[in-house]
């Protein structure tokens, strides 16, 4: 049973900047948690707090039910993959992998034979057998990445921490590594905390995601929940590509009004009232020829099988993802008339965030 | 390997190109000039330098057709700088040197020509008669007269009469014996004041003891006679002064003793005339007495007498003028000025008479002491005596040799130095 709990964890830096603001977060045993958020949101700090590389200002972190606030990093039994990999440039791959084991405090040190066994085991797992005698600078990006992961795993950590490990790789390699990481997790079941700003990684890898902004936890849920039921406007706009359309206005008596724009709220939102943001994901907003709200086309981004319509709806920018069937014409004559389309925003998946 | 080949090729090329140089020698065109370059070694912005400048100024006024360029050279570097400049053809016309410098400079020849001019052909006998004969002799090496003496320096016994009065010890007198000196020094024991403060690890301060016990350090031919009777006793005494009697400080630098004496923490010191000014500034009462006499041998302790004078470079293009300037700088007026303003002991007989009856009793005393001094023989390597003697003292005080062995070793070494 290795679970991780952040209880009211708070980090204020010496210069007064609040990195993590009263974070409460439970990570279950064997869970793959992705800390997601834009840069500077405090996700890396959270990870470093957990690793013991930063000191908590307040609150508590528990691993396995034990308060580890004051435990040195090494005692927490964690493995970490750094964004820059932090491989030792002067050591070979196998030396890099075994370094942690060789340098462990006497009481914890394992025998040389065991070290060798573990290194070869990890090398096999990560298909690094051929590179063991090479120096990091002779490796490709993906290989370095795997060495970094191997180095974290070789100590059989209770919790595996990864700080944007894929950000230095090209798109193709990133895809592959993503699958490999997921597979690795499924084989080992090690509790993993993974920091990224890439929502695709978050959606594909995570058991659950924790979305952070400004040091605060915004939502902690499964990727699906976060996507479909965002806890707030931030989560809604952060998750999904293109981003969710958010229109600021007032809901009253089952109708939403934002300046000149006004339409009936969908059924599940009839009850809301007061000022707030109305959100519709571009993929769910619909072009409704003849019956919808008129909108002026600003630009159409053609993505092949689909297109993104950038629209101006009474002064509000709205983007709509439009799927088309193969036979349709290039100029979207079926929906577009005179540079205008009509759209339907009151769809069943629409969201309303008060405030 | 290729690099080496390229380098060798280049060297050959360079050599071949140098070979293209025309071979005839240029005709020397530098005739007698009216510019004299003078290197002096007074310390910067000192009173001595000022006195010197005054004298040069007076010379300029008297010889308006001559222009004199004055260059200050660090005293400690005189020899190296002069030898280097001479080899490079940039020697000055006139340079201020100490007798110890001359034993080094005097032996140097370049293409068979000595660096400094023998002054005898340039001076009339009557001009030389002006100087105290011993000071002239002190500037001679291999018969040649290498410099005109401008000043002499010697050490004598200085004491602080206030301390003697305070501790009711009778102050030094000119007829003291060494025993009296030691008795007085011992009398200050347990008063918190050093009786006698001298750097006995430095040969310069041991030599007076040696001369009192065994006479001259060198025989008439200038050969060392360190193993003569008496010297070993003197060395034993100086050893005992430090280790058994604890009468002197063990330093090998005068600064320590000097500080003690000038702060009233030492009653007696054997000190040079050149430091009198410092004691005057320190504001203590200082009197002088002749160094004492050995009770048995009857010989007086004689310190080393050092001379400083002016040499003419053999590179000078206007030697008559250089000699004139040297005569001027060693002239009675200049010496008298230096005596009165900077307490410099003269070499000119008439000025010496002034000094012997000087209103400053210290000057008169030092002048009297100057009659009881010894000079080092002017031979190549003489200046090594300090090193040799220091080594002997070091061997003795580190217990590596007894006085006799140390001294005979020193004598052998000194002979070897002279023969080298």
């Amino acid at each position: 049973m290795v679970d991780v709990r952040f209880i009211n964890a708070h980090k204020e830096f010496d210069d007064g900047y609040v990195g993590v603001d009263r974070l409460n977060l439970d990570i279950a045993d064997g869970e793959f948690l992705v800390l997601l958020g834009p840069s500077g949101c405090g996700k890396s700090t959270t990870l470093r707090l957990l690793a013991g590389l930063e000191d908590l200002s307040d609150g508590e972190i528990q691993i396995d039910g034990v308060r580890v606030n004051d435990l040195p990093a090494a005692a927490r039994g964690l493995g970490m993959v750094f964004q820059s990999y932090a491989l030792y440039p002067h050591m070979t791959v196998s030396e890099n992998l075994s370094f942690g084991l060789r340098m462990a405090p006497k009481a914890d040190r394992v025998e040389a034979a065991e070290i060798a066994r573990r290194v070869s085991e990890i090398a096999e797992l990560l298909t690094l057998e051929k590179e063991l005698e090479k120096k990091p600078r002779e490796l490709s990006g993906g290989q370095r990445q795997r060495v970094a992961i191997g180095r974290a795993l070789v100590r059989r950590p209770k919790v595996l921490l990864m700080d944007e490990p894929l950000s230095n790789l090209d798109a193709k390699l990133r895809n592959r590594m993503r699958r490999d990481l997921r597979r690795l997790h499924e084989q080992h079941g090690t509790t993993t905390v993974y920091v990224t700003h890439d929502q695709v990684e978050a959606m594909t890898l995570a058991d659950r995601v924790a979305i952070m902004s400004d040091g605060k936890l915004q939502q902690h849920a499964t990727p699906n929940d976060a996507y479909h039921h965002p806890a707030n406007a931030f989560v809604a706009s952060f998750l999904g590509t293109p981003a969710t359309n958010l229109i600021e206005g007032v809901a009253k008596d089952g109708r939403f009004t934002a300046g000149d724009l006004s339409f009936d709220l969908p059924d599940h939102l009839k009850h809301v009232s007061g000022p707030g943001q109305y959100g519709v994901r571009p993929e769910y907003a619909q072009i409704a020829k003849g019956s919808g709200i008129p909108a002026k086309i600003d630009i159409v981004e053609n993505l092949g099988g689909e297109a993104v319509f950038n629209l101006d709806v009474f002064g509000h920018a709205v983007r709509i993802l439009y799927h088309r069937s193969g036979a349709e014409q290039r100029n979207y004559h079926d929906v577009v008339a005179d540079g205008h389309v009509e759209i339907d925003l009151a769809v069943p998946s629409a969201m309303f965030f008060e405030g | 390997m290729r690099t080496v080949a390229v380098l060798i090729l280049w060297c050959i090329l360079t050599w071949a190109l140098t070979g293209c140089a025309p071979s005839e020698k240029p005709v020397s065109t530098d005739d007698a000039t009216n510019t004299l370059e003078v290197w002096h070694t007074y310390s910067a912005d000192s009173l001595e330098e000022e006195v010197f400048e005054t004298s040069i100024e007076a010379f300029r006024r008297q010889n308006p057709d001559m222009s004199v360029e004055v260059v200050r050279v660090p005293f400690s570097q005189t020899v190296m700088q002069f030898i280097t400049a001479s080899q490079g053809g940039e020697a000055p016309d006139l340079i201020r040197v100490a007798d110890s410098h001359l034993t080094q400079i005097g032996v140097v020849t370049v293409s068979g020509v000595p660096l400094v001019e023998d002054l005898r052909p340039h001076l009339t006998p009557q001009q030389l008669r002006r100087f105290q004969p011993l000071t002239i002799e002190g500037m001679r090496m291999d018969n040649a007269l290498l410099a005109l003496p401008a000043s002499q320096g010697t050490m004598s016994l200085l004491y602080n009469p206030d301390l003697f009065a305070a501790h009711q010890v009778s102050p030094p007198r000119d007829d003291w014996t060494i025993d009296d000196l030691l008795a007085a020094a011992s009398a200050f024991e347990e008063t918190g004041v050093d009786g006698l403060s001298i750097p006995l690890r430095w040969s310069l301060w041991v030599m007076p003891f040696l001369t009192a016990y065994g006479g001259d350090l060198f025989d008439a031919q200038g050969d060392p006679r360190f193993s003569a009777t008496g010297f070993a006793d003197a060395l034993s005494l100086s050893y005992a002064l430090e280790f058994d009697l604890g009468l002197v400080s063990s330093a090998n630098q005068i600064d320590a003793s000097k500080s003690k004496f000038s702060r009233g923490q030492a009653a007696m010191i054997i000190e040079g005339v050149w430091n009198l000014e410092d004691y005057r500034q320190a504001g203590i009462n200082v009197r002088q007495a002749l160094l004492p006499v050995h009770p048995d041998t009857g010989l007086r302790m004689r310190p080393l007498n050092t001379l400083i004078g002016w040499s003419v470079s053999s590179q000078s293009t206007n030697k008559p003028a250089s000699v004139d300037l040297a005569l001027w700088l060693t002239g009675a007026d200049t010496q008298r000025d230096a005596l009165n303003r900077t307490l410099t002991l003269p070499t000119d007989i008439s000025v010496i008479e002034d000094a012997e009856s000087h209103e400053n009793p210290l000057i008169a005393g030092f002048m009297a002491q100057a009659n009881h001094t010894f000079a080092l023989p002017m031979r190549r390597g003489t200046q090594q005596i300090f090193l040799v003697m220091d080594t002997a003292i070091e061997l003795l005080s580190s217990g590596k040799a007894d006085p006799e062995t140390a001294l005979s070793g020193a004598e052998t070494e000194m002979r070897a130095v002279f023969e080298r």
């Binding site: 750094f82 | 090329l13 080094q104 293409s111 005898r120 580190s398 130095v417």
Partner: protein, 486 residues
């Protein structure tokens, strides 16, 4: 006749006058001729007098219109006085064919019975006519006799040290310049032909530095090496001859070699070790970002580097005196620089004091360049601080440490100032041996300037040079073999 001339050598020449003085009446005598080839000395000419009727207490005077009294020779009882050889005398005079007597003050005197006096007239102004007259004066200064006035003239024949001809050096420097340009152009052409187009301008870039370096140092070093094969010595500079490897033999056989060599080695190794370890230690401590007063500390610790070395060394020399600050603090009177062992330790420590700041500075720069991620990774692995230092910091500093320690080695090996200013190589514990704190370069200085033995000193220098070059090559090779970080 012959003995007389031989003893005079080229020293004396006779020009002209003979004056005979007797009983107060003076009358002129014949004039002797002089041979021109003897006229080699400068401002010196001769005078011969015939004398009679001298009395003790009187004196013989030679007067000129330039000087007034030129020579005054007292007439004394010469019994027991020595005759000083003419070449040794201050005043070269001969009475009755033999050098005159000298009294206890080394002054020339003659006896009352002297018949003839022959004197070298020194100090006459060259190139001018001089009127000379001889006289006999009694003790009151009254003139008793006087010769007729004769006119003399001296020629200038100056034995002058001619400045060395610098034109060969000028040609050498010119040749160096031209051949360097040729060499570099050739190399450039060669490189381009090899297809190494990228380096087309490389020689233009390194050219000025190489030219300046070679121009200034090629001649001196070649000269130094050449000197080591000659018997160059201060007593006959410019006349030295080739003696092969004799100087090297002397060096290798010299009894001081082992002592100086050993102390040089210890001095260098200990110093480099102290520079590197203390520099590293301080750099490590100062590397901590959060340390309070870090900048103040660093500024202070850099002082020994900023303060000119000769000043701080002299300050240490004062402080290490028996009355100095160190002893005051300890309440002791130790003579640190006077005893062999403590002097050796003192000079080493003072030099360490001088060298640590440079090392500290350079290393803390290099240390900053090491990625902190690596240390965090090691932290997570539970690697102890010491092991972090040993396995991460140190290997990553190696690329900086190798050249730095090499430079430090060379500098320390040739560090003249510290030892020279502190102890001058002393204390000396054996006659004719190097001092306890002499290292090779200070000993070379002594050999060159105290003993004047340039050839021997040059041989020592060449040996130092070869030692350092071979050490550097070895060191660079060794470290390159083990070094693996780019």
């Amino acid at each position: 006749m012959s003995r007389f001339w031989i003893s005079l050598r080229s020293f004396i020449l006779i020009v002209s006058l003979l004056a005979v003085l007797s009983g107060g009446a003076a009358y002129a005598q014949s004039v002797e001729a002089s041979s021109a080839e003897d006229l080699t000395d400068y401002r010196r000419t001769g005078l011969e007098l015939s004398l009679s009727g001298l009395q003790e207490g009187w004196s013989v005077e030679i007067r000129t219109d330039q000087h007034g009294v030129h020579t005054r020779i007292p007439v004394k009882d010469v019994f027991g006085l020595t005759r000083l050889p003419a070449e040794a005398a201050l005043q070269a005079c001969f009475s009755d064919g033999a050098p005159v007597h000298v009294d206890t003050d080394q002054q020339s005197v003659i006896g009352a019975g002297t018949q003839s006096l022959r004197c070298a007239l020194t100090g006459l102004r060259p190139g001018t006519d001089v009127a000379v007259q001889a006289a006999i004066v009694d003790e009151t200064g009254t003139l008793r006799a006087q010769s007729s006035e004769i006119r003399l003239r001296t020629d200038v024949s100056d034995l002058r040290l001619t400045p060395p001809d610098t034109r060969p050096i000028l040609y050498l420097l010119g040749s160096i310049l031209i051949s360097l340009v040729l060499l570099l152009s050739a190399l450039r052409w060669w490189d381009i032909r090899r297809g190494n187009l990228k380096s087309r301008n490389a020689y233009l870039y390194v050219g000025p530095a190489i030219v300046a370096l070679v121009l200034l140092t090629f001649y001196p070093i070649t000269y130094g090496i050449w000197l080591s094969f000659t018997d160059a010595n201060q007593t006959h500079l410019g006349q030295s001859s080739f003696i092969g490897l004799e100087n090297f033999g002397t060096v290798l056989m010299s009894s001081g070699l082992v002592q100086v060599g050993l102390f040089t080695l210890i001095w260098t190794v200990v110093n480099v070790f102290l520079h590197v370890t203390l520099g590293l230690l301080l750099a490590l401590v100062l590397n901590r970002e959060t340390l309070f007063g870090r900048n103040v500390y660093r500024t202070i610790l850099l002082l020994p580097w900023a303060v000119p070395a000769y000043i701080s060394v002299l300050a240490w020399q004062g402080m290490l005196q028996p009355e100095g600050l160190v002893n005051q603090f300890l309440g002791a009177e130790a003579n640190f620089l006077g005893e062999a062992t403590s002097a050796r330790i003192s000079v080493t420590l003072v030099n360490a004091w001088l060298g640590v700041p440079f090392m500290m500075m350079s290393l803390s720069g290099a240390m900053k360049a090491i990625s902190t991620d690596m240390f965090e990774a090691a932290d997570l692995d539970g690697v102890s601080r010491w092991n972090q230092f040993r396995h991460i910091t140190f290997p990553n500093l190696k690329t900086t440490l190798v050249p730095l320690s090499l430079l430090s080695f060379i500098w320390t090996f040739n560090m003249f100032n510290t030892i020279y200013l502190l102890t001058r190589g002393g204390p000396y514990l054996g006659f004719g041996q190097p001092g306890a704190t002499d290292i090779m370069v200070t000993y070379i200085y002594d050999v060159a300037f105290e003993y004047g033995d340039y050839g021997l000193a040059a041989a020592w220098s060449v040996i130092v040079f070869l030692l350092l070059v071979s050490f550097s090559i070895f060191y660079v090779r060794q470290t390159r073999a083990t070094e693996a970080v780019t």
